[in-house]
Subunit: 348 residues, 2 copies
Amino acid sequence: MKLPPSASDRPPTSVDVARLAGVSQATVSYVLNDAPGVRISEETRAKVRAAADRLGYAPHASARALKTGRSDLVLCPVPDVALGSLFGIWMREMTERLGERGFRLVLLQGDAQAKGVAAARAWAEWRPAAVLVQEDRLTRAAVRQLHAAGTAAVVAIGPEPSALTPTLVFDDAGIGRAAARHLIERGRRRLAAVVPTEPVLRDFGERRLAGVLTEAAEAGGAAGSGLAVERVDLPFDEGAAAAVAARWAVSPDRPDAVFAYNDEYAVLMLRALQDAGLDVPGDVALVGADDLPWAALLRPRISSVRILGEGAAGDTADWIAGLIRDRERSPAVHRALTRVEIVPRESS
Amino acid sequence: MKLPPSASDRPPTSVDVARLAGVSQATVSYVLNDAPGVRISEETRAKVRAAADRLGYAPHASARALKTGRSDLVLCPVPDVALGSLFGIWMREMTERLGERGFRLVLLQGDAQAKGVAAARAWAEWRPAAVLVQEDRLTRAAVRQLHAAGTAAVVAIGPEPSALTPTLVFDDAGIGRAAARHLIERGRRRLAAVVPTEPVLRDFGERRLAGVLTEAAEAGGAAGSGLAVERVDLPFDEGAAAAVAARWAVSPDRPDAVFAYNDEYAVLMLRALQDAGLDVPGDVALVGADDLPWAALLRPRISSVRILGEGAAGDTADWIAGLIRDRERSPAVHRALTRVEIVPRESS
DNA sequence: CGAGGTTGGTGAAACGTATCACTTATACGT
DNA sequence: ACGTATAAGTGATACGTTTCACCAACCTCG
């Protein structure tokens, strides 16, 4: 393959394409963008496309963003890329669905500490169409900064609707509810819920615990009580888990069921409970969450709450696209990943 | 907090800042960029900065990129965000280190199928300073396309130096070597190495297997042989693993040690081996990799190869920055994550 | 045969920034 | 007092697009 006769060493521009095709630069723009309501003959279109191809022309996104005043970027600053496989699946699908609607989802990470208006200013520099960000990293000033910089949609991600801006609600409480319902149906009455102490996970843990409490309260009213919920704050540490298990081993009113936040904490609790001489599920039932593939391989196989991520991203992408188009006339709340189901196995 | 008296609803520009500060737009640019070799009084600098602050001015990154011809973006198209925690740690550190050098690392995902020149054209649109991408998604035409669009550094990520462009070598073979060395030192002679059949993981698996083979060959020469390595292609499926274990259970020359690719495959093999009546580590030793926290909690606790990610990113960031500055005079190969160590536990 | 519509384009003006080439005012050396 | 050096800053241009306002043919029809 020969190099096209490049007039210079600078990247080819639409002017170069126009020159090669023998048309004006405006025509190139119209053709390559398939501009609606513009009449260009098929013959000319073919010439332009051929010229663009020959030159390996790639439009200058920055020039376009400058001219139009906004980019097709949807920024998503994340605290940590490895937030779990569920997040990865959701992200991949969101990327695809937003792409179909003309947007490009981009992950920023690293500036986990950057919050508020300083972070907002950094995000605003690329004039994104939308910013998707964890609710607790937003302030009123940050939202205003982003809007002032032309960001059409500032979307908070959190467990409940934000007062500041439209919110994408991830229903972590529903995970706790599903776990609790399952355990109660199996006849368990004294539930424990693990809340991780790690910075990022704690907030999710709180919500999952809240779901357990909600479900227990409802079932308690219906089934005539006897229901109790114990909260267990736990770092991912074998010693800490062992201490909890040791306490339970000698306690007459120990929990007969544990919702362990997720499958990783479930294996932590499993080990501790077994080491303390407690049988799972005989003495204590155990439920994790996220349905990680390897959790089904343990002894006993661990029951888990599965979150159904597939297919839901299309609606969310539509919501975000709508928000970008017209923030006023779009619903301020969208719920994602609401479909959860228990996968019962040997541990409960 | 009151809104600054915004003259319009458009985002503030450097001209607005200049007007408010009573200076020219050029001065604003010089001050806010700390331009070297330009003499501006401290008094004026203060005025400009105050005005920018009052207006909530955020520079228009696209306008800057258009003017300067290049952006500070380092694009990293990844097939899947949840590539494992190690990748996450490495990414976070790279983001930080590149940030210190004036670059912004950005993750693109989703277009996993996009390869070659079409993908390159899409990446080139933002005129990134560098593109970091899995080696197998590059072609000669793609590299040329990116360079033609002004990308200073096209970096391949792969197990060995690419012929096309500078390469960031991730030494997966070293992981296999470390596992094999450990097992051989423990007196094992008939090794098996698991290679996942999943699309993304297979390539890594091949490299880890290659490391096992290398180490076995070297040790075989020294220790007087008897060493054998069996390759096990395995999907993450309990039935498939059980079939392998069942075959081994009745085989006189079954492996006495398995390197399971990673900790997840290790638990898959562990379950299958135990179900087949084989003792771990009595009959078969087992080693995983990635040192996931929960793998240490199984029965038996699983030995693992740990990759030391911390601290190595600074050198890599320097290398990439050097590549961007002067591609010709920079080394064409950089090795990352070369420090691995075995974490021996009960399973080996 | 000329008014008016349609087809197929073109010219030129921004968008917000960086930066080169100047300009003005003051200080300095003799 | 004169020329020169320096400090402090300004004016204007160009980067590559999109898009608005035109324009030249050609066709149609009374």
